[in-house]
């Protein structure tokens, strides 16, 4: 039998003005299991709290109902107070007599009647309160960063500089991501490699950072502070502990194949570093093209390697480790325009290239050593058409969103082309020019001063005739159909989520939006957190953005990790769901509805009627459950319940209101 204490607060005259506190106390005294009821002028004050503590002892109370201001105001205050007594802090209910009663009603009779109802509900619920306990979760102070582009590198460096060990997983052979492929960065036009490669070197040599290249995250379980992560490092066929990166193997390798780093515009060897400043600065063997690995004949690299570092029998390495926090920085890829734009030739014309291909063409360390030439015949193009919004703002064929960076890099490409080919002509087809950023609009205007002709309209068709690429457009500003005979066309294509986004998102319990970008926890106020505690987003995996924004978000994510790591232990939520083994039928409805992937189905063996039976039941992970209660409603056998808001408690509140 419970012994409930009810305290009704005057809140000065805030409550007492429209609620007859005395009458409420009198009614409270008549309610079942109420052992004590009293009023108080200011319950939240030290004296008020002291009075409650004394009443608890004096009347042997085991739970408390307080009629006062909103629980959003002082629930925590009163819980703290209870933690100084013998009563569990969760043996507490608060009736909101101020914000939702006295402040919104003028008629004292109505206000008092409502206050009585609210006290009744609270008493009815409180009668079924159970002691609840938080768990302390140890924090494993090691961070995992997935993705070694500029965002991942920045996050890794910041976390490492804060003193915590970081593992950085990169699926390509080298760090650097997309940024290191770029030639120059807008609007300052500093060399991309010159600012990106030092960061790569810093990451590579940082004592707190372990880089795993050619690696992917295969499995993740656990929760904040304790993620169990399985990482697969693909075979490199080279012993990195011996290799010095001298590059002799690469020069002697007889096999050439198109380089993905050069966007198919140049060749690389089968044993290769994707580019000169790669980190790690050691080569890998591309098993798909290596003669030795495909046909068993060759072995040049093994023969030339002065250190004997080649390992043709190398295999994938799978490791499992525990991390306290994860930063996801898997970046983006460009939309496969060829498959959706038949009207632009669908990829049949060699001289219709993507913006990233242009970056390689114009790059001094690229396949043409920075000479802007047509991929088809190596001739310098005398007229170039730049088409923006290819795949962006095109829900019918591509994506509905604006890719944010293309207006700027489109302007950059026009500027770079006119800089390298001063007698060339450059036409830029655009829908709108969007240049919000420091120095951005000035940069765009300068491109026009350089001589780029901006035409407002979407190109309808590009086709090749007599060696020229004919672009059909409309200059909507003058209302004329226009054609341009171009030597080369650069398509500024939409950013889309990386191939991995969907798989990784579902593995980590991060929701994806309609376009498969990973979703932040709140678009305004929690832009780097995800709905999974301890997992943060950095860079373009969360949505299209440019380099400064990616770097800023990466540092913010790193800060979140540092804040998490500043604690040795975390307190888990006490008001979480739990499943009754006796009732659960293992249907799994709760598993699919849980937004936090906190529920799993497990096989258990138990004794029923002195027989051993194995059943599937659901199990809630207390580290992941946030206490929303969605699972409880989905549970048809009624096995799942929410602590602190149990079915019985809510039903009793309903009854208290309706039946008395």
């Amino acid at each position: 039998m419970s012994r409930i204490g009810v305290i009704v607060c005057h809140c000065g005259s805030n409550i007492a003005a429209t609620v007859d506190v005395e009458q409420v106390v009198q009614v409270a005294k008549t309610l079942p299991h109420v052992a004590y009821a009293a009023d108080n002028k200011y319950t939240c004050s030290d004296q008020g709290q002291q009075a409650i503590k004394e009443a608890i002892v004096e009347h042997r109370l085991d739970r408390i109902v307080i009629g006062s201001c909103s629980p959003r105001m002082h629930e925590l205050t009163f819980r703290k107070m209870l933690s100084q007594t013998d009563i569990n802090p969760y043996m507490l209910e608060i009736a909101n007599l101020r914000e939702q009663c006295s402040w919104v009603h003028k008629n004292k009779a109505e206000g008092t009647a409502k206050a009585i109802d609210l006290i009744k509900m609270a008493v009815a619920k409180c009668d079924r309160d159970q002691p609840l306990f938080t768990m302390s979760i140890p924090v494993n102070k090691r961070a995992l960063v997935i993705g070694g582009g500029i965002a991942g590198m920045q996050a890794a460096l910041d976390i490492a500089d804060a003193g915590y060990p970081v593992t950085l997983v990169e699926k390509e052979p080298s760090l650097g991501g997309k940024m290191v492929m770029l030639d120059k960065t807008f609007p300052t036009m500093d060399c991309s490699a010159c600012i990106c490669t030092p960061k790569m070197a810093d990451v590579g040599s940082h004592p707190n950072i372990t880089v795993k290249s050619l690696a992917e995250v295969e499995q993740i379980s656990g929760y904040v502070g304790n993620f169990e992560v399985t990482i697969r490092e693909r075979a490199k066929y080279i012993d990195y502990s011996l290799c010095t990166g001298c590059g002799l193997c690469e020069t002697k390798c007889p096999t050439k194949t198109p380089s993905s780093f050069e966007q198919g515009l140049g060749l690389r060897k089968a044993i290769y570093k994707p580019f000169a400043q790669a980190v790690p600065g050691k080569p890998t063997i591309d098993a798909e093209h290596c003669r030795k690995l495909t046909t068993g004949k060759c072995g040049v690299c093994e023969k030339v390697c002065p250190l004997g570092a080649i390992r043709y029998d190398d295999t994938d390495k799978v490791t499992a480790e525990t991390y306290g926090a994860i930063v996801v920085a898997i970046g983006y890829q460009l939309i496969d325009w060829g498959s959706i734009y038949g009207e632009y030739g669908g990829g049949r014309y060699a001289d219709v290239i993507s913006g990233l291909q242009f970056e390689r063409l114009v790059n001094a360390s690229g396949p043409t050593e920075g000479h802007v030439v047509r991929p088809s015949d190596g001739q310098e193009p005398k007229s170039v058409v730049i088409v923006k919004c290819v795949g962006s703002r095109d829900p019918e064929h591509g994506r509905s969103y604006c890719s944010r960076a293309c207006c700027m890099y489109g302007a950059k490409h026009a500027h770079q082309y006119l800089d390298k080919v001063p007698d060339g002509r450059c036409y830029v087809f655009y829908m709108d020019v969007r240049t919000p950023g420091k120095g951005y609009d000035e940069f765009y205007m300068n491109t026009q001063h350089d001589g780029a002709l901006y035409l407002r309209g979407r190109v309808s068709k590009i086709y090749q005739q007599n060696g020229k690429l004919i672009c059909q457009g409309e200059d909507t500003l003058s209302g004329q159909q226009v054609t341009v005979e171009a030597d080369m066309v650069v398509l500024e294509t939409a950013m889309v989520p990386a191939n991995d986004a969907d798989r990784l998102g579902s593995m980590l319990g991060i929701t994806r939006d309609k376009d498969l970008w990973l979703s932040e926890a709140h678009p305004k106020l929690r832009p780097v957190e995800t709905n999974s505690a301890g997992i943060y987003l950095a860079g373009t995996c969360q949505g299209p953005k440019d380099i400064p924004d990616s770097v800023a978000q990466a540092s913010a994510a790193a800060m979140k990790v540092a804040v998490l790591f500043a604690h040795d232990e975390l307190e888990s939520n006490a008001m979480i769901a739990s499943s009754d083994v006796a009732l659960c039928n293992g249907c799994g409805a709760c598993v699919s509805i849980c937004p936090y992937s906190a529920i799993t189905l497990e096989e258990i063996t138990l004794r029923e009627n002195s027989k051993k039976v194995t059943r599937r039941i659901s199990k809630v992970n207390p580290g992941l459950c946030q206490g929303c209660g969605a699972c409880t409603v989905a549970c048809r056998p009624g096995a799942m319940d929410l602590r602190g808001f149990s079915d019985e408690q809510i039903m009793r509140e309903v009854d208290a209101l309706c039946q008395w």
């Binding site: 409805a589 969605a630 409603v633 309903v654 309706c658 039946q659 008395w660």
Partner: protein
């Protein structure tokens, strides 16, 4: 569940005695509103902070999320004495728990059709999305629901009995799991 002995029936606004002819004149609708902690409940607090007045016939029941509201609660409330039930949560897409209000919407809309099928007037069970900053919307919604239910009059004993039908409870259970489809 025990029915509690009490002598204060007259002070409770939701006394079922309203059905008696003598009480008809002074009849006040009793409305139970389920409010999610993160949006609507804080919106209601903000209405208080701004001293916005609204009818005293509404009692808020705090739940963590509109997705926590089991259709059975609504059946129970209407069956046992409430004249109207309102469920409020965060706006679609703003759910503190990512998708709770989405599930609430799906299951409660199916449930609403079920209730209407039994002859319950649509005004008696409503679902609304009210954010923590929409104090005015909270006041307006509550006021309007109150007026609508007042216009409908008290829920009849027949209606309440129909709602207590176990077949209906079974059907409600299927809407409960509606999200699985």
């Amino acid at each position: 569940m025990s029915v509690v002995e009490t002598n204060v029936a007259t002070t409770g606004a939701m006394a079922t005695g309203a059905n008696s002819p003598a009480a008809a004149e002074s009849w006040q609708p009793s409305i139970l509103a389920f409010a999610c902690h993160w949006c609507t409940y804080s919106g209601a607090d903000l209405a208080g902070l701004n001293r916005m007045e609204y009818p005293a016939n509404v009692r808020l029941l705090r739940v963590p999320c509109s997705g926590r509201v089991n259709p059975q609660y609504v059946l129970s409330a209407l069956g046992k004495g409430a004249d109207g039930v309102l469920v409020c949560g965060c706006h679609p897409g703003d759910c503190h728990y990512v998708s709770g209000n989405y599930y609430a919407k799906r299951r409660l809309m199916a449930f609403k059709r079920l209730l209407e099928f039994t002859g319950l007037e649509p005004g008696r069970f409503q679902v609304r999305w009210i954010s923590g900053s929409e104090a005015g919307k909270f006041r307006d919604t509550v006021t309007r629901v109150c007026e609508e239910v007042r216009a409908l009059g008290p829920l009849t004993t027949d209606q309440r009995q129909a709602l207590a039908d176990p077949v209906l409870a079974g059907a409600a259970a299927t809407t409960q799991a509606g999200e699985a489809q």
